[in-house]
Symmetry: C2
Subunit: 231 residues, 2 copies
DNA sequence: AAGTGGTCTAGACCACAAA
DNA sequence: TTGTGGTCTAGACCACTTG
């Protein structure tokens, strides 16, 4: 009987303490929920919630009938909020600006066709826009949109960016995300006011609504941009 | 009475459907847990779990006494697994290689002192190592370690990288993470076998154990590296 | 076949933030 | 003050795996 406290957070902390102190060592089984509940003086549901939380955080591995064991390699997960660019800029204490550079229909490139799993060559709406932070180039948005969801005649992106409109109006059900670095080509360099070849932090994102492609976007951030998070 | 099904996943799906269909529109209150439980024919705890899940995913905003409302801007979150580099390489179907380039004590730079919140100039253990994928440079690991946790005399990083050893042996309690792009300087270019100035995807990570600094690391990935995740 | 985690229920009390 | 979500409990049944 340890009687830690009847709250699942307390049980979680106690379990985490045992993991960190190696009282429960990596790859070995820990007591059953029922035993822990009895030992800690709380209901099994409480223990369950605590251990479930630790499992989702990567500290424990749980399997029915197999029991619960301490993860050999704690797979910690970093989470990033997929923000609206305007909010990202404002969170940095800067004034957000926006300029629509281009908006028209055109045939998708092979890369876009593949990313959006498009069978034919039906034209997509293509937008290019620049986000500014205190007047300086911040991020170049190069986007392809399925015109079914945002017809050029009905939805305009002069003042509200496609980024923001889509987040607010077209919830997606699935998608993919990639981060990488790339050198600035001539076009990006001119628009982001940086030397050609400068290292640009780049995000590619595609989203789908129930297997219907919505949009594919490439966001190229001006040199110096850092994406950060707490662990 | 809709009688969706007594499982919290089903309640979650039903709620998500109402959010997506605008039956519950952004920024407006949705029914109380008790009402929903009655409507859907299940216990309040079941509704609670479903709505709590949707809140943690950013679809709902919940406040005691304030009720539950649909988030105006669904803050979707992308999660990345902080993998061991060896596993990252192997997951790509490549053979992992590792070479320790340097290992010694030296005084921390100002940036490192600040990142680890170090008061004095006590020397830290500094490691440089190269990870290879199928024999080609993959990632350059430039690390500072608090010697208290991994004394040079006791822990060697000749065959197992510090990255892997730390993940397995020194669980952290907090830390910070940053992603950005940077041009390859002469040293990195030589070690990663890429042109000077090439765009490198870079990760900076610092970890603490209860406010005791453990390590600060900069990982510079060879050109072409992409960090990806599903949404 | 049996053991473990996964979940549901009904009822209760509490904490917090409005009104 | 009061209403809402947050949580705990005790008991039950179920689903998945493993031996």
């Amino acid at each position: 009987m340890t009687q830690v406290a009847g709250t699942w957070q307390a049980v979680r902390e106690e379990a985490l303490r045992r993991i960190r102190s190696r009282e429960w060592s990596p790859d070995t089984l820990i007591p059953h929920e029922a035993d822990l509940a009895a030992e800690l003086g709380c209901a099994r549901a409480t223990v369950n919630r605590a251990l479930r939380a630790l499992a989702s955080e990567g500290y424990l591995v749980r399997r029915r009938k197999g029991g619960t064991r301490v993860a050999a390699t704690p797979v910690s997960k970093a989470t990033f909020a997929i923000t609206i660019i305007r909010q990202d800029v404002e969170a940095r204490g800067l004034a957000h600006g926006y300029r629509l550079l281009d908006d028209g229909m055109s045939a998708p490139t092979d890369a876009v066709k593949q990313a959006l799993k498009l069978p034919g060559n039906a034209p997509l709406r293509r937008l290019q826009a620049l986000h500014l932070a205190d007047g300086a180039p911040f991020c170049l948005e190069d986007r392809w949109i399925n015109p079914v969801f945002a017809p050029a005649g009905e939805v305009r992106f002069d003042s509200v960016s496609a980024n923001e409109w889509l987040v607010r109006n077209l919830p997606y059900s699935s998608g993919a995300l990639a981060f990488f670095a790339q050198p600035a080509d001539a076009g990006r360099a001119a628009r982001l006011c940086c030397p050609e070849g400068a290292a640009l932090f780049t995000v590619e994102r595609t989203t789908f609504s129930d297997s219907d492609p919505i949009t594919a976007v490439t966001l190229s951030y001006a040199p110096g941009y850092r994406m950060t998070t707490e662990l």
